[in-house]
Symmetry: C2
Subunit: 469 residues, 2 copies
């Protein structure tokens, strides 16, 4: 590769052997909203090398875009404009530093994939509960930097709740060593949680101490047709009351999603093909209580209360996998249909039914379109996506796309919700954050950014708009 | 009261009616290590008044010591020296701002006692799981400011894990409004967790949105005699594997603790009076699995494996209460015996048995003394307290107290532990933090303190030593 003089000078100050060819894959993000740009790609082999790269970039005043698996959906991993940054890829830092089954703790380097972390835990008869569609590629460091959520957050929390400690390189190259394997440690400010969810703008997480669990003796899965979202939420309360924390996942599926599957992925089995609304529930229960029996008891109770219209309890591992396969193919079906706009929202649980009702009315009054509303109902987290009316193209909505998204976010925020439940801010939602964040909170965020990264080199333009001047 | 001119000037700038008489109770902490001092006591009635008090103190450069229930054990609530501060008591901010049973959310003002929060939740058939011996007095704001732990952290986490959002007054009087009722919200830096555990040094939490749970249908309690700490930890793994997250508490009790109870509180029932080591386990299980049956199954399994020597499963609510009563009277028995030194330590679970063995050997080689080691074994959190040999007085150990505590902390830190698991740093452990904290982490803490509280008025001298000059 031929470098401009500034990049060549920076390259000369990096540890030997860290540079990688700038291939297109480093400049991509999954939804192809942007293409990134970069001067150099560095892939350090260890934390000291990360620190050396960061120090060199600080001296050269070159921005750093940290990159894990590159699966983020809000553009945190690509910098489309401005001075060309250095991409700092964690791809070579994939070591499992330690595993303590009795402690339910594992220490992973940031570049390890989520699937590799899960596999390492499983090899010791443990479960790392975080679970995402992209887990084969997503790096654990990126999962932490973005506080990833997924389908098991209802029971086990988001990435934040599964992290006991971190090692991280600060914007000046200093290293925080805090890979503790402790459940309780009240010795000063919580820098771990400050870096988690900061999307690489305050430092680079290089390794993490992660919380494992002993997997439940047995799990059970059911698909239940419900009259509507309000009944789905009452069903959730009923299930939580009966299961004592044993509900692992509680996913809402709209009839529109089933119709999309039938249209573009007809081979996917749909056990309740005509349900206007359905729920996928997974439970993991103690020894002595077969999950099938517990789900049967829930189903009988819920049918009596009118919360469920019909239901199928998986009778085999294959059937359970089929139910999950349906759920996990909803995003793929959406992609094949082609969304006008996607939204990753959350709401207080008691606001969800009203929001779904009012948003549908408001949107369909403004445009002919289809709505697929699905996701992690137990967390109040919906993926609320708009699609063209049958026979129309996405482009036909270009002039209304922003107005429709604004309307959705306005209705969400008026009900005390969030415009980014689990994907983060990245570069996609910087303006939304400016618009909606509490002013004092936003001011404190800017103060922290300026205090920890006075040169503004850590993932510039992500989360916070660059400081003026 | 007669005020000096500076305090009189400050008093004149406070909202009308916020001042309270400076009674001795405001200057006390439970272990009587220090007596505090203050110029004024202000008890604002609402968040705007808190902000007004903070702004007035900022203008007058007067330090503020926030005060909840005053039950903290590390002196975070008293300032024994330096310029007299204003004590900002949250005692009038005790409103329940809202309760949403279906959401499992409650919003409480900071001055509400933990017991009042628990009672409000119970009134809606919900559980706020945080549980401490001092909950009748401890304020929820203080529980959050110190990230309180207690006996249910194993299952439900510490205070941090139970808080969804906060309202807080910053050191310049601005108010962060972030009382969200959301499980997922990835919109920028996690200021909530930065203020939680900061012990009032970065701002004052005035209200919090708290996570409730649906209580388990039924709970069960057992006392189990174990051969030693290593077997207790294997028993924990076994119980977690069988119970699928259903273990609520797992408390270690040393034979020395039972002996102290027999000596000073002989009316407390001791079901396994001669156990060298025992465990109190509580489980909360789903509908369809009687906790007594599940504990019976665990007991049989554990007896076969040699992890348990003897056991008693509570057959009634009264018996369960008796078992907890024993556990909760251990600190009172300790107080009556009179400790030489107390330690709130945590360790990686796999280091605990070795630490207990080695620490006892090292300490008894240096001094004739008795050790009572008990606490939240499931969290790796031990209260490790030293007592005089029979017939000797605490004063006889005055010259060795610090050396003994240093030795314990050195052994804990060498094994990757913490010198303050759940009590915090306060003023008691400032030097320990300086000694043991990762240097980069400590430097970042100072940077954050300087950025958010440049005047150094928020709880001066707590957590961090005052900046020189």
């Amino acid at each position: 590769m031929s470098l401009n003089p500034a990049d060549a000078a920076l390259a000369g100050r990096l540890p030997a052997g860290v540079l990688r060819p700038l291939t297109p894959a480093y400049l991509e993000e999954p939804r192809r909203r942007w293409s990134g740009q970069a001067g150099l790609v560095a892939a350090p082999r260890n934390t000291d090398e990360v620190a050396a790269v960061v120090r060199a970039c600080a001296e050269a005043r070159v921005g750093i875009v940290p990159r894990g698996g590159g699966t983020g959906l809000v553009g945190g991993q690509v910098m489309p404009g401005g001075p060309a940054p250095l991409i700092l890829s964690l791809e070579r830092m994939t070591a499992l530093r330690g595993l303590w089954p009795q402690e339910n703790v594992l220490v992973a380097e940031a570049g390890m994939s989520l699937q590799a972390v899960r596999d390492a835990a499983a090899g010791a008869a443990r479960l790392f509960p975080l679970s995402l569609a992209s887990q084969g590629t997503a790096a654990i460091g990126g999962c932490l930097a973005t506080n990833a959520g997924g389908v098991t957050a209802l029971r086990y929390g988001t990435a934040r709740a599964l992290c006991l400690g971190i090692e991280a390189v600060l914007p000046d190259g200093r290293v925080i060593h805090d890979l503790k394997r402790l459940r309780k440690d009240n010795t000063g400010y919580d820098l771990r949680d400050l870096l988690i969810g900061a999307e690489g703008t305050l430092g680079i997480i290089t390794a993490a101490s992660l919380r494992l669990v002993v997997p439940p003796p047995d799990t059970g899965v059911a698909m239940l047709a419900v009259p509507g979202p309000a009944e789905a939420l009452s069903l959730l309360s009923l299930a939580e009351g009966r299961m004592a924390g044993g509900v692992t996942a509680f996913e809402l599926i709209a009839g529109q999603g089933l119709a999309f599957l039938a249209e573009v992925l007809p081979d996917i089995r749909r056990p309740l093909p005509d349900a206007a609304w359905s729920v996928l529930i997974e439970v993991g229960l103690p020894e002595g209580l077969p999950p099938g029996d517990a789900l049967e008891g829930l189903l009988v109770d819920a049918l009596e209360r009118g919360l469920v219209l019909d239901g199928v309890i998986a009778q085999s591992g294959q059937q359970a996998a089929d139910f999950w396969n349906l759920r996990e193919n909803l995003p793929e079906a959406n992609a094949r249909i082609g969304a006008i706009a996607s939204h990753d929202i959350s709401l207080p649980l008691s606001e969800i039914a009203g929001f779904i009702r009012d948003a549908e009315a408001a949107l369909t009054a403004r445009a002919e379109l289809r709505i697929n509303c699905f996701g992690h109902l137990g967390d109040g987290n919906l993926h609320y996506n708009l699609f063209p009316a049958p026979g129309r193209s996405r482009d036909a909505y270009d002039d209304r796309r922003k107005a429709l998204s604004d309307l959705i976010h306005e209705m969400v925020m008026a009900r005390g919700g969030s415009f980014s439940a689990e994907h983060g801010v990245g570069r996609l939602k910087v303006a939304e954050l400016e618009r909606w964040a509490d002013p004092a909170r936003l001011a404190v965020m800017r103060t922290l950014k300026a205090a920890l990264d006075p040169l503004g080199i850590m993932n510039p333009g992500a989360v916070l708009a660059p400081a003026p001047g």
